[in-house]
Symmetry: C2
Subunit: 683 residues, 2 copies
Amino acid sequence: MDIKRFFEPESIAVIGASRDPNKVGSAVLKNLIITFRGKIFPINPFVDELQGLKAYKSVVNVKEKIDIAVIAVPAELVLSILRECEKAKISLAVILSAGFNEIGGEGTKREEEIKKFLSKAKIRIIGPNCLGIINTDPNFNATFLDPNSKVIKGNAGFISQSGALLSAVVDDASTNNIGFSKIISIGNATDISEADIIEGLKTDEKTKVLAIYLEGLNNGEKFLKASMSFSQEKPLLVLKGGKFKSTSTAVSSHTGSMAGDYKAYELAFNRVGAISVDNIDDLFNFMRDAPNIKITSDEVIIATNAGGAGVVTTDHIISSGLKLSKFNDKLLNELAKSLPKEANIHNPVDMVGDATPERYRDTLEILVQQNKPIIILFSPQEMSQPLETAKQIYETHERHPSVPFLSVFLGGARVDKARRFLLERNMPIYEYPNEAVFMIKGLFAYYSHRLQTFKRIGKEKSRYRDFKLKNDIFGMDAKKIFDSIGIKSVEGVKFNSRKDLENGIDKIGYPCVLKIESNNLAHKNKVGAVILGIKDRKALEDSFMKLSKIIKEQKINKAAFGLYEDVNKFGEDKMEILLGAHRDPQFGPMMAIGLGGIFANEINETKFLLSPISDQDIDELKSSKLGTIIKEFANENVFDELVNYLLKLDRLMAANKGIKDIDLNPIILLKDKLFATDFKIFV
Amino acid sequence: MDIKRFFEPESIAVIGASRDPNKVGSAVLKNLIITFRGKIFPINPFVDELQGLKAYKSVVNVKEKIDIAVIAVPAELVLSILRECEKAKISLAVILSAGFNEIGGEGTKREEEIKKFLSKAKIRIIGPNCLGIINTDPNFNATFLDPNSKVIKGNAGFISQSGALLSAVVDDASTNNIGFSKIISIGNATDISEADIIEGLKTDEKTKVLAIYLEGLNNGEKFLKASMSFSQEKPLLVLKGGKFKSTSTAVSSHTGSMAGDYKAYELAFNRVGAISVDNIDDLFNFMRDAPNIKITSDEVIIATNAGGAGVVTTDHIISSGLKLSKFNDKLLNELAKSLPKEANIHNPVDMVGDATPERYRDTLEILVQQNKPIIILFSPQEMSQPLETAKQIYETHERHPSVPFLSVFLGGARVDKARRFLLERNMPIYEYPNEAVFMIKGLFAYYSHRLQTFKRIGKEKSRYRDFKLKNDIFGMDAKKIFDSIGIKSVEGVKFNSRKDLENGIDKIGYPCVLKIESNNLAHKNKVGAVILGIKDRKALEDSFMKLSKIIKEQKINKAAFGLYEDVNKFGEDKMEILLGAHRDPQFGPMMAIGLGGIFANEINETKFLLSPISDQDIDELKSSKLGTIIKEFANENVFDELVNYLLKLDRLMAANKGIKDIDLNPIILLKDKLFATDFKIFV
C-alpha cells in the first residue's frame, strides 16, 4: 500500500471527539481545526455540535467521503467502530486508543481480534496505542499533542515508538528550530509497521532525513529491507531504546550471552547504513544538518582563532578515528602569505585571537582547495566580530557550496546572533566542537556505506539438511553434525562401558582426552568433567574410574564417555578460537568468532556477523585486531578455513530453524591446520 | 606563598594603560574601573589622565602602596618594568604581555631573564602571556576580557592554560547561569603554577569546586601533591587538551608506544581523584552542580512519566557501569498502593503520562527511603504541569536534603520555566538524561576515591644501584641487570665464537634458542634474528651458521650470540605476558603489564601503574580482566610474583633516572612458575 495516502487526506473523521477538553478526542479535534484545511467530521453519538462543527452520531451518518478515521474511543469499542468504518467505506484509520497488547491479557486478546478483522477488511491502520500522525505540507496535525506545541515545517521525518518521548522531542525541536516533514507515532504497529513507513517515506520529497526512536520490532527482515533501500537515498537515524533489557530467559550458550540483546540491532543498523545515535541532542543535530552536508572524507581541517579550542577539537577528531588533513607545500605557502607570522599554518590552522572576519574569509578561501570538511572554530575574544565573521563564513560557503563547512561558535550571549544567522541559512552550526566531530564521523560512515553494495557470499546451492533437533546436544552427538558439514575436529569415539575403552584407545591413541558425555545435564552449560593430557594406559584407566565415580555420585542420567585426541600431540604452539552462532528473534542468525579458552570470558574481541554473511563482513574481520592476531599466528589458509566454517555455520542455522545457539569453543589453531575440540548445540 | 594575596588587593597599578581602546592595557583598566572598589593607578609615561583617572609616569611616582601590578607593556619592556616594581616595593604582578616562551627563540630568552630576576627579587608573578585574574568576592576583574562579558558570582574556581578558551567559557557560563569564585588565566606559569593556585584555593571558602583546562605541566610531582590534597576537600575537574599530540621523538619501546602522551595524565588524574571530562558542556554541569550533590552509591533510581525516556536513561546507566537500584517488597507495596495500576512500580518507576505534580511528590516521598540518587524524568505531555511538578520536586527535596535528586526535564519552551525554577534553587537540572547519568558516574567516582587513602606499597629500604647506563642494552647484558634484582629468567649465555658454542650448550641443554645479540643495531627495536626450538646438535650448528651469515651480510657491529633455554621444555601450557616500564617526562615512571607475544600489539588490555605503586593499583589489577585471565591460567603465587616484579621495576626506575623504557616481552607463565625470556632497556 502507498503510505502517502495517510498524509494527504481531504477529509478526516474524529471518532470519540469529546466535549471534555481533557479527553484525547477533544485535543485531536482541536489540533485538526487549527491545522487542517480539509473537511473535519466529529463523531459523537450524544451531541450535535463540537468546537463549532456539526457532530455526527456515527461515520455511517456522514454522507460524504471520509479519507481517514481517527479513533479515540475506549479500547473495548474499537472493533465495533472499525466495523462501522468498513460500512462507511473508510479505508484508513489511526487508532489512538490504548488498552491493547501493551497491557497484556485482555488487551492482547483485543489486538488479536482487530488483527483478524483487518485480515479481511479493506482497512489499513496506524496504531493502536499511538499519539497520531502529523504532516507539515500539506499541513495537518492528527495527534493529541498539546495544541500549544508548535511543529515547524522542515526536512525531517520522525517515527517514534514512544508517544511520550515524541511529545518531548516535538517541544524541544521547535525551541531548537528543527523542522519536520512528517511525524508518526507508530504505537503497537499492529498493521502498518516501521518498515511500511520507511518504505513510503523513501520517495517522499519533503522528507530529506528520517529519524526513528525504536525499542523493538515485529519483523526484523522487513525492517532490514526497507531501511537498506531507504538509506541508499537519504540518511536514516536510529535511537535505540532498551539496549540492555534483561532477557527473561537465562542464556545457556556462550555465544548467546556475548551477543546480548542489542548486538543484532547493532549489526542490522550497520548493515543498512543507518546512523545510530545514543542521545536525543545528537539526534537533533543530525535531523537538522544531515540534509545539508555531504561528507565523503575522514580527513578534517580545523581553522580556529583560539589555540586551545583547536587542541580540544583535534583530540575529539583523533579519538573518533578521524584524521587531520595534511597540507601540501603550495597550500602552506599560500597560508603563510595570507596569515600573520604568529599564526599556525599547519592543521589545525590557528588564525590567532585577533582574527578579523576578513581573515576568516581569506583563510577559508585557501583551505577550500583541499576539498575536505572544515571545522571553523570561533571563540569570542576582545576584538572579535562574531556576526560579521558568520557572514563571511556564509558567503565563502556560497562560493564553494560543495565543501562542507561546520561552524562551532563557542561562548554564550556574545555569539548568539552569529549562531542564529548561520542557523537560518541552513549552515551547520554548533556550540561545542564534539558535536561537529560527531556529525562528520556519522555522515562519513553513512556516505561510505552508500558507496558499497551489499553482496552476500558463500551462496552454495546445496542446502544442509534439517537435523530436527529436539534437545540440546553436546559432545560426540554434536560432533557428528559438524563432521557432516565439513567442520574438521579431533578424532573421537563415544562409548558406554569399560570394555569399549579398548576399541576406543586403539582408534584415538595417546595423548588423549576423556570426557563425560550427556545431553541431559541439569545445568546445560556444565557438560561434565574433562580430563586432558592422558599419556598412557595407566592414566587412562585411572581417568575412567574417576569419571565413572562422578557419574555415579552426581547421578548423571544417560551418561556416556567420550574419548578424543589431545591436540597437544600436534605440536606446541596453539591458539584457541571460539566459533559460534546465535539466532536473534528479530534478525535471525549471527555468527561469532573470537578468542577462545580462558580469553573468551574476558577479552571482548569477539566479532559477530549477521546472516547472510557479506564480502564486507569478511573484509572487516580480516582487518580487525582478531583477524590480525590469527593471521600473525597461523597461515593464511587457516584463516580462510575459519571464514569457511563461519559460512558453514550460517548455512546450518539457515536449514535448522530449531537451533538457537552453537558453541565451538575452543577451536584449536596450529600453524597450518585447525580442529574443533568441543561441541555444543542448543535448541 | 599565600596565593590569596593576589585576590584581595586594595590597590592595583595598570602598567601599559593606554588611550587606544583596542589595546590590552585599556581594556584591563576599563574592567578594573567597572569592578574594583580599591585604588587604581594607571601607569603611562605619555599622558596625565586615563579614563577619568590620574595617570602616573611610573610606579615609582605613585606615593601610595600598590598591592598588584598588572603589566601590559610589550614583551621587551617587561623586565625593566619589573625592576621598577621592585623599586616601588610591589610584591605581586600579573603579566599579560605575550612574546615569551610561547613564541620560542628570543621569547624563551626573555622568559629566562625574567626567571633569573625573580629568583632574586621579592616579586611573585602570574603569567606572562595570560589574560589576567578575576575575583567575584571581593569583586575585581583584572583581565582584558571584553568589558561587556558578565562574570556571575558563584562557587567555581577556574584555571585556564588557554586564554581564548577562557573567554569563551566565561561568555558561555554567564548565559548558562554558572557562577565563578575566582578565574585565573595561568599563561606560561613562569613563577606561580597551577599547583600553587590549587593549593591556595583549597582553603578558599568561596571556591567549592575547581575546574582546570590543562594542556601541559612544568612540574608533575607538585601538581600531584597539590591536587591530591585539594580533592580530599572539594571536587577537582580537569579538561585535558592535547591528548594525542604527536611526539617529536620516535618511540622505540613497546611499553612507551602503548603509553602514548596521555596515559600518565590519565593515571595522575585517577590517582588524585580528579574528575576528568572531555567536553566543555560536561565541565559546566560539574562546575554548577558538583558543590550541590554528594553521590555515594552507584545504584540509581529512575522515576519517569514517560516509558521511553526511562528506557533511554536505563541504557545510559548500564553502559556507564552504574546499576539500577532494586526495591524490596515493602517499597514495592507502598508504590503499588500509591500509583495507578497501569504504572510500573519496579525501577525504572513509570508514573504514567498523566502523572500530576502530586503523584511526583507522593512517589518521591516513597523512593527517598532507598537513600540512593534519583533521576527524575519529566516529559511534557498533554495534561502535564511542568512548573508545578518542579515545585513539588523542590519541596520534596527540601524535606529530604540528603537524597540526591537529579531532574531531567525533556522538551523545549514548555518546560523552560520549570527548568529555571529548579536552576535558581541550585537543584541539579538537565535537558537530557545522559547528562544526569554522567554527573552521577563522575561524582560517585569522586566520593569513592575520597574514602580511600593513598598507600604506596613495596617500600623496601634497600635501594637498587644506579647502573649508569649510557646506551640501550638488550639480551644477556640486560638480563644480568634483571638477574641482579631478582627477576627470574631463562638460563642464557652470551659468546662470540664457534668454539664457545660447546660450553654454552653444556650449560643450557636442549631445546634451546639462539639469538643475535647486539646493543648497536641501527633500528633499536630490531634485535636481530631469533631461532626457536633447537632440538639437537645438528639443528644448533645449522642455526649458528645461519645467524653468522646474517651478521656478516647485515654488517652488524659488535655482534655476539645468545643461547637460551627454550621455555617449551617446561611444558605445553604457557601464557605470554608483557612487563614493562616507561618514564613520563612529567609524572615519572609508569609500570606496564599486559598480554604478551602476538597479543601485545592488538589486544588493548595493558594496565599501567604510576610510580609509586599503591595497594589500590594492585587491587584494581587483580580484579581487572587481565588479572582474571592470569589467575585463571596460573597459580596465585605466579600472579603475586608478577606483582612483585612490577614493584622491582618501579624501584629499578627510581634508582636509574637514566632509564627511559623497559620491555620484558614476553614473560612466559607456566602453571606454577614464570620466566622472562626477552630483555630490553632503553636510555
